[in-house]
């Protein structure tokens, strides 16, 4: 059996088993939009849109996602260039972190005198 990652493409490209890819490709490509809401903060994924090229994607993102001063910087990336992890593999992927409590500061019980360390 094929692994789910082969059968189900990216979440954000929206393709999944049982649906034709061709009808999507007839339209404009899909882009993911990331916005920095103010200087000093990360760009954050806000949604997606269709556009013929990067310039149009930025202009459309401006119109759709920053009408109320929500951003000072926009990134766009064509969705097909994003690789996503597979939720079915979440076990193997994240399990190694589960038993390493010593990576957290709360693991260490220190005398009261140094409690604000």
């Amino acid at each position: 059996m094929k692994s789910a990652s082969q059968v189900l493409p990216l979440e954000i490209t929206g393709q999944s088993e049982g649906y034709e890819r061709s009808s999507r490709e007839a339209g404009w490509p899909l882009w993911e939009v990331l916005i920095r809401s103010k200087q000093g903060l990360d760009h954050k994924h806000v949604g997606s849109l269709h556009a013929t090229d990067a310039q149009m994607a930025i202009e459309n993102a401006r119109d759709v996602y920053t009408r109320r001063m929500e951003g000072v910087s926009i990134w766009v990336v064509e969705s097909k260039y994003i690789t996503a992890s597979n939720p079915d593999e979440a076990g193997e992927l994240y399990e190694p972190a589960i038993d390493k409590v010593y990576r957290h500061p709360t693991f260490y019980q220190l005398p009261d005198e140094v409690n604000h360390m």
């Binding site: 789910a4 189900l8 990216l10 979440e11 954000i12 929206g14 393709q15 999944s16 088993e17 049982g18 649906y19 034709e20 009808s23 999507r24 007839a26 339209g27 404009w28 899909l30 806000v46 949604g47 997606s48 849109l49 269709h50 013929t52 090229d53 149009m56 119109d63 759709v64 009408r67 109320r68 996503a84 597979n86 939720p87 079915d88």
Partner: protein, 319 residues
Amino acid sequence: MIIQDLESNFQSKIDQEIKIEPKDWMPEAYRKTNIRQISQHAHSEIVGMLPEGNWITRAPSLKRKAILLAKVQDEAGHGLYLYAAAETLGMSRDEMINDLHTGKAKYSSIFNYPTLTWADMGAIGWLVDGAAILNQVMLCRTSYGPYARANVKICKEESFHQRQGFDSLLVLSRGTVEQKAMCQDAINRWWWPSLMMFGPRDSESTNNDQSMKWKIKRKTNDELRQQFVDMIAEQIKVLGMQLPDDKLKWNEEKKQYDFGEINWDEFWNVVKGNGPCNNQRLDARKKAHEEGNWVRDAAMAYAKKRKMPPSPEGELRAA
């Protein structure tokens, strides 16, 4: 894993309030129900631009025109958020648009009523957007992640829609005799169709049970409708207007308003395509889509051309 295990895993995630994300396993019926509901929600936002677009050029002041333009632009954005959410379930934008144009997909029947006077802009903002907000606030907690997130964005923008509507009616309600009459007339015409927006009675709704179990919906049609009546019945007092329902009465025992029976024949009739503006709305959408074809093609051709390596001739010219 066998299908029963997948299904019980899925339901247990829902029960634990864990959101379902696009790549997660989901029952085919859950996928289909969400595609249907989200795309119809998207279509409603897009078709919903038409009755209001009708009044942009005739708004009574520059201020009202700017507000109306901003509101209609928001609806386009809401349509886009929702189409994008539906696309994560595997249906393409083109297919969705096609289903709308062929009549396979529905949109909210409320937009099949005409906007006859300026006061209708106020009534739509207050009543129609007010009803939509109750639904969308509930949907901020729907189980499908992308749909929930789209609704959060929508709700942030939508409350201005309702407030500007009420504000506009408030001005009319304090105006001349003619303005007051226009305000009351708009309320009379939009009240019952607004109540119909919540859909059939719970006892007649085919999708309610499963959608509640999957937490696609969190409240039933009748619960949301009651919430709406209780809210509007209070707000209308500020306008000094009347709701066109002589059965509307506070029920002290139930702590809610009793109200009259919706004309369900009218409801089903409009759903089936026989409302006052069904054809007009669909024709306008199809015309816009067809007449925009060359623009979409040209933009695509331009993008392709720019990606191509320059021809020797082009290089010469550049030099």
